[in-house]
């Protein structure tokens, strides 16, 4: 089961990523990115990162990507003109070839890497409790530093984006 879910969502992630790169209109790219993030959230879940998966959906896909979409709509960004002229062979067979190449490389890498025990859903749980505990003890300083970082980012964003009076 785990493997099937992995393949589905991994494929979905790769498809969305390719879509992001290939699409001309930014909105399409943004939506593809949301797709990537969603798939990755499922994969995190598989790996036992409950907290991270939730954070991914809420923060990344829910806040950051929304911000992106707002900015795209604000700027009224239109579709890009075609980036380069490619031959028809590349246009139709490019993706398949790339997939074949990547698959081959992956297979070789996998064969070369040592066998570890593999991922079983549920073998590890990165609960919010554990994360919180670690965060507020061992990683307290980075935590506080990031809070300052966010403050700076807020101030910076406001200053940069305000109207000149």
């Amino acid at each position: 089961m785990t493997a099937i879910f992995f393949l589905i969502f991994a494929g979905l992630a790769v498809f969305c990523a390719i879509n992001l790169v290939v699409q001309t209109h930014p909105i399409a790219s943004a939506l593809s990115l949301i797709g990537v993030m969603g798939s990755l959230a499922v994969l995190y879940l598989q790996l036992g990162g409950e907290f991270i998966a939730a954070a991914q959906v809420i923060v990344y896909a829910g806040a950051i990507m929304v911000l992106f979409v707002f900015v795209i709509m604000l700027l009224n960004a239109g579709a890009e003109s075609a980036t380069f002229q490619v031959s028809r062979f590349v246009k139709y067979f490019g993706a398949i070839l790339l997939a074949a190449f990547l698959g081959l490389v992956s297979f070789i890498i996998q064969g070369a890497l040592p066998r570890t025990e593999g991922v079983i859903f549920g073998a590890f749980q990165g609960t919010a409790l554990d994360v919180g505990r670690k965060l507020f003890t061992t990683y307290l300083l980075p935590f506080e530093a990031t809070s300052v970082l966010i403050l700076i980012a807020i101030v910076g964003a406001i200053v940069l984006a305000r109207k000149e009076v």
Binding site: A17, I52, Y60, G118, G156, L160
Partner: protein, 103 residues
């Protein structure tokens, strides 16, 4: 274990996503698309962190991933503000036209 997915698969996926992010960064001309490619790269790295966190059965990787997300958020905010300013001044979103730092 039959339904165990080899860890290396996650890593390969992370590499593929990262490579795609780089490709998008180099080959796209719209600033916002470039920015989104950067976010894609960050996500790929996050996956890598969580994978290794599973291997060692510790939550440290999750915490690193969390910090990456926080920083990505801050960066997105400020970066988009910059893009807005550039658009206001140059009226263009094509990255090739913002080249006044040419020698």
């Amino acid at each position: 274990m039959q339904n165990a997915v080899p860890l290396s698969w996650y890593l390969i996926l992370s590499a593929i996503l990262f490579a795609l992010g780089v490709a998008g960064f180099i080959f796209r001309r719209n600033i916002i698309t470039v920015f989104m490619s950067i976010e894609l790269m960050l996500n790929a790295v996050n996956l890598s962190f969580v994978t290794f966190s599973y291997e060692f059965k510790q939550v440290d990787g999750h915490i690193y991933s969390f910090f990456v997300m926080v920083v990505a958020a801050a960066e997105a905010a400020v970066g988009l503000a910059i893009i807005l300013t550039v658009f206001k001044n140059r009226s263009t979103l094509m990255i090739d036209e913002v080249n006044s730092m040419k020698y």
